[in-house]
Amino acid sequence: MNALEELPLWAAILTSILLVLGSGLALIGSIGLLRFKTFYERIHAPTLGTTLGLFSILAASMIYFSVGQTRPVVHEILIGIFVTTTTPVTFMFLVQATLYRDRFEGSDPLTGLSDEQRSVKTPARE
């Protein structure tokens, strides 16, 4: 592809840094998914890839394509908006399903949460 050869050095460096940062965050998120032991902890790990990881890669794409001037850079903004607004829906469904199952099995993690007690700490399982 010719656009890559015509890309000035600063843009190439910036794009690469952002790409490595974004994919690194997605990788760390996946490691967390493996390493954390309970479902409620695991749900936090992949959000690294869907937030800052996603935005780094979108920023890299915006720099690459706007410097190369192959097309205007609006699609990335839309991707960011769509992912940010749809991720909570999936997450809520997953958490609600787990909560339902936990309650069904008689181990409601939210017992003890009342007006007096604001937070319940759950030990990190090995």
Binding site: I31, T38, H44, T47, T84, T85, T87, V95, L110, R118
Partner: protein, 161 residues
């Protein structure tokens, strides 16, 4: 006006999205986009969506900026927690008494809580207007209710309510 265009703000956003997606300002795309925007707002009427009013655009921008900074900070914190091998975290659930009630505020709050890793939305009880979130690390004993109230709720209330 209100019968044909029940949600003017949402219709305008739909049309804008359509034009951005197609990267074109031709008459054909504007007509097609308008048709979709109007049909979309009619669907919202059938869904009984409450009317949407935006106020104070600069507050929306301030909220966006604040969320962006918090997102970067919590990404770094969670990345450190993942890579650190020690198990000195204390995850847990936190109960938060909310002040905002409008559906739009809650929807944006859900996006914010999901966009900042380390906190996730667990349950919302409409009766008491109580939100339960899960926090990956409660160790530093932050008052999460206070954090949400101070950082986001005030701004959300100003925007939507």
């Amino acid at each position: 006006m209100s019968r044909w265009l029940p949600f003017p703000v949402i219709s305008a956003m739909l049309l804008g999205t359509w034009l951005l997606l197609n990267e074109s300002l031709s008459i054909a795309q504007i007509l097609l986009g308008s048709a979709i925007a109007i049909a979309g707002s009619w669907i919202l009427v059938r869904l009984d969506a409450p009317p949407l009013l935006f106020r104070r655009l600069w507050i929306i921008m301030r909220l966006g900026l604040e969320v962006f900074v918090d997102m970067i900070r919590s990404n770094m914190r969670v990345a450190r927690l993942v890579l650190k091998d020690k198990r000195d975290r204390t995850p847990g659930f936190v109960r938060i008494q909310l002040n905002v009630r409008s559906h739009y505020s809650l929807a944006v709050l859900a996006c914010i809580i999901t966009a900042t890793p380390g906190t996730s939305w667990v349950a919302y009880e409409p009766a008491g207007n109580v939100l339960v979130i899960h926090v990956l690390d409660l160790a530093d004993d932050d008052d999460w209710g206070e954090i949400i109230r101070v950082r986001y709720e005030g701004l959300l209330k100003e925007i939507f309510e």
